[in-house]
């Protein structure tokens, strides 16, 4: 397998790397260590720069104005964008375009006019509400939020949990049960946050300081029938598509942080002396650095294997699950070892390691916990035999 970058990819990586080092990292000197956003004016300035680079709206298809890049290149960019303090959950403070709901590209023309295009123009914010207190990894069975038809409307009641950005969004995708139990009973709705009955009740405080989650209560929320996205009962496929698609760049972001933490550990091991010699001369430290290196290289191969398969149009569900599993688990170990090498400094807010440690811990759970990834992999290899 040829892992060499093309000239264009090398140019993009260099450009993004320079942007992160020259525009993003210096900003963090004046921000709280847990900050996850910059002022709207600063963000607009950064967005102009990513537009000049031709890289704004990374997850937007070219026909809608996004850059014409494949998933491998998207992952290369993700690795670079996450290499700063807030980079895991607020890569470049969203200068490359914030989270967008790719499902809206499948909307009807009327829905696109009303919801997709304002989102693409950056005028409106969106959310994605799938998980509930009853679970998020198995939405086909866990969803208890119920939508009942009432003439031209649906009336929705229930609770959504772990929903990022719902308090600041204008509208979003919300999944509710319109039929019986199982996957076929779930439908996706586009709902507006100003509608009566849509209530963001609280912020769910976690280890993560960026992109906080919220709890939503839906109390007799009336949604027009025309706001169904896709088909009635087709919600699970829409949700599942998003989960598979997201896993690969999500894994690449983990790698970016691991790479940066490892670089910091190497540098520190060379300059920090204990008992008359640099840490780098101690075998115990050397082995930690070696393990970091191997963990990063192994994860990188798996992430790019998944991305390359997706780019070739081949099935990549198993590969994306493996990439997500290994990248999040390995990157967590890399950050942990790098903290250990830094000693007390590693756990202080003076360095980004403690934030990465907290947020990387969440990565082993978010977008499907490691155990669910194993479940996906096991199901695929048992049902379809080993490929």
């Amino acid at each position: 397998m040829d892992m060499a970058l093309s000239d264009e990819q090398r140019m993009i990586v260099d450009m993004v790397r320079r942007f992160v080092r020259e525009e993003i990292v210096p900003l963090e000197d004046n921000l709280d260590p847990d900050a996850d956003e910059v002022s709207p004016e600063k963000l607009a300035e950064l967005v102009e720069k990513t537009k000049e680079m031709g890289l704004h709206g990374l997850d937007t298809p070219p026909e809608y104005g996004g850059p014409d890049i494949n998933l491998v290149t998207r992952c290369l960019i993700a690795i670079e964008c996450s290499q700063h303090r807030a980079g895991l959950y607020a890569p470049c403070y969203y200068a490359f375009g914030g989270a967008r709901q790719a499902q809206l590209f499948e909307a009807t023309d009327a829905q696109k006019d009303k919801y997709l295009h304002p989102m693409l123009r950056g005028e409106k914010r969106v959310f994605f509400a799938l998980s509930e207190p009853s679970g998020g990894s198995d939405p086909g069975r866990a969803i208890q939020t119920r939508a009942v038809r009432d003439g031209d409307h649906w009336v929705i009641n229930g609770t959504k949990l772990w929903i990022s950005g719902a308090d600041r969004a204008d509208y979003g995708l919300l999944f509710a049960r319109t039929g019986g139990p199982g996957r076929g009973g779930v439908t996706a709705f586009i709902v507006e946050t100003e509608w009566e009955g849509f209530n963001v009740r609280r912020i769910v405080h976690t280890l993560r300081s960026a992109k906080y989650a919220t709890e939503i209560q839906l109390e007799d929320l009336r949604v027009p029938h025309e706001n169904i996205l896709g088909e009635e009962g087709g919600g699970f496929a829409i949700a599942n598509d998003r989960l598979s698609r997201q896993r690969v760049p999500y894994s690449a972001e983990c790698l970016g942080v691991a790479i940066k933490a490892h670089e910091m550990a190497i540098e520190y091991a060379k300059i920090r002396e204990t008992f008359g010699a640099p840490l780098a001369h101690r075998q115990g430290i050397q082995w930690m650095l070696v393990e970091n290196e191997i963990d990063i290289r192994a994860a990188k191969l798996l992430v790019f294997d998944a991305a390359a398969k997706a780019d070739r149009g081949e099935p990549y569900r198993t590969e994306s699950a493996i990439a997500k599993l290994v990248a999040s688990e390995n990157s967590f170990k890399v950050v942990d070892r790098s903290m250990q090498i830094h000693g007390g400094l590693g756990v202080a807010k003076d360095l980004p390691l403690e934030r990465w440690f907290r947020e990387m811990r969440i990565r082993r759970v978010g977008e499907g916990p490691s155990e669910v990834q194993k479940h996906v992999i096991a199901r695929d290899i048992l049902n379809e035999s080993l490929r």
Binding site: D32, D167, R168, N199, V200, I203, H205
Partner: protein, 113 residues
């Protein structure tokens, strides 16, 4: 943890400050009538956390504050946002002395109760 802070108010003076450590967290300041005039955060950039921020408030009380209450919280950023949004929901505006907050960064929370 309730969305709205409901601890009793403590007089904003040096004597009360003796009981406050230099932890990170959030705090509220109120006037004599118990009306919240400022919602603040002692983040990781502060030299002495909550103690340092309250000491500043004693020296120059925002909005004429005379009382305070604190909450030690490592999720200080999200908790600060939550308290601001809950107040905005309840009163339709931010506390009078929170001129340091750009309302554009706030979301719309509709806490129960």
């Amino acid at each position: 943890m309730p969305v709205r802070m409901d601890k009793p108010w403590v007089p904003l003076n040096e004597e009360s400050l003796a009981t406050i450590a230099s932890h990170l967290g959030v705090y509220q300041l109120a006037n004599d009538a118990g009306e919240i005039v400022y919602i603040g955060v002692a983040d990781a950039r502060t030299l002495f956390g909550l103690k340092g921020e309250l000491r500043k408030a004693i020296a120059d009380p925002p909005g004429g504050a005379t009382q305070f209450r604190v909450e030690v919280n490592m999720a200080y950023r999200t908790r600060h946002m939550e308290l601001l949004q809950a107040y905005q929901h309840d009163y339709g505006a931010l506390p009078v002395a929170n001129t340091d907050i750009d309302p554009r960064i706030l979301g719309r929370l509709r806490p129960a109760g």
